[in-house]
């Protein structure tokens, strides 16, 4: 069956997208990504350590020929910083896509949507493929789409919280409000959370902490891969309606009297 996700016309071969933070080392990062089956891998942009050059480069472990590298603007608190970071990421030469984040509050890591929209408009004008991390707010999602964003990445719960999808109804309304892909970004705790996201009909889900901070990251990566696939299949298959009373699945005819 042809069920391939497209973002800005580009084919994406997985509906599970992963981050690269919080792993023990690059080897574990690499193996977890392999186990997850993810095609899109997000990375942060930081200064090179010029005094200690012994450190290896992440991209030596994650081949940009094999994966779609999605630079993010994590850690940016202003539109200006996010635009600057996105431009540096593009200049590094692996991608013209950006997971745009403008954080508004250190404690909750909730987005500053006003600054996010401002940064998105600048980057879109400059030819970027912009995937903004935002609240589960349908009005904001629509504004970001109207500004030209190529997907919407609403949070399911605060970053790293593992609380799962807190407001499935808002996520559903977002999907009805926009025509670009909806990729849930942040808040997944375990496999069932990922399955629920996909059963709702979301186009993809991005996670990092749930895999990297699990007791066994490689196993969890595998679990997430299966959960995302199962959730997607269940969405496409169409679940039965919820009913209050029982409905027998064995025939009434031929019952022994």
């Amino acid at each position: 069956m042809n069920d391939i996700l497209k973002v800005a016309g580009r084919e994406i071969m997985s509906r599970l997208w992963v981050g690269t933070g919080k792993y023990k080392d690059f080897e574990e990062t690499k193996r977890a990504i392999e186990a997850s089956g993810a095609h899109v891998v997000t990375v942060a942009v930081r200064r090179v350590n010029v005094t200690d050059r012994s450190r290896e480069n992440l991209l030596d472990y994650i081949n940009p020929e094999k994966y779609i590298i999605l630079p993010n603007t994590a850690g940016c608190y202003t539109a200006k910083d996010a635009v600057r970071t996105a431009n540096l990421a593009r200049a590094a030469g692996v991608s013209d896509m950006v997971k745009l984040e403008v954080i508004g509050d250190e404690k909750t890591l909730m987005p500053d949507n006003e600054a996010l929209l401002e940064a998105a408009k600048i980057l879109i004008k400059d030819g970027f493929i912009v995937l903004p991390y935002t609240n589960d707010d349908p009005v904001m999602a629509k504004k970001l789409q109207d500004a030209g964003c190529h997907a919407i990445m609403p949070l399911a719960a605060p970053i790293g919280s593992g609380l799962g999808i807190r407001n499935p109804y808002n996520i559903r309304i977002i999907m009805e409000s926009v025509s670009v892909p909806v990729i849930v970004d942040a808040g997944v705790g375990t496999a069932s959370d990922a399955a629920i996201v996909m059963e709702l009909g979301c186009d993809a889900v991005l996670m990092n902490t749930a895999i990297a901070c699990a007791k066994d990251p490689l196993r969890m990566a595998h679990a997430m891969r299966m959960a995302v696939e199962a959730g997607r299949l269940a969405y496409l298959a169409g679940r039965i309606p919820r009913k209050l009373y029982a409905s027998a699945s064995s025939p009434i005819e031929g019952i022994i009297e």
């Binding site: 690269t20 200064r47 991209l59 590094a92």
Partner: protein, 69 residues
């Protein structure tokens, strides 16, 4: 003659006439994996060799690290 430049916030002494590309070689940094801001302006990779650093220039050298959720 040597000149003083600031790289990622740290002061460094380099020979006059040093290009961005030779600076990366001095620092043992693979040019393919980084992006550079030269006095707040991005330098295209194709211009690394032709961009020569001057006294009191500020350079930011960035790369990709683990992160994102």
């Amino acid at each position: 003659m040597d000149i003083n430049v600031t790289i990622n916030g740290e002061s460094r002494i380099v020979p006059e006439g040093t290009s961005v590309l030779s600076l990366l070689k001095m620092l043992d940094i693979d040019p393919g994996r980084v992006a550079i801001e030269y006095n707040m302006e991005i330098v295209n990779k194709s211009d690394f060799n032709d961009t020569v650093v001057k006294e009191n220039d500020r350079l930011e050298i960035i790369t990709f690290v683990g992160g994102g959720r």
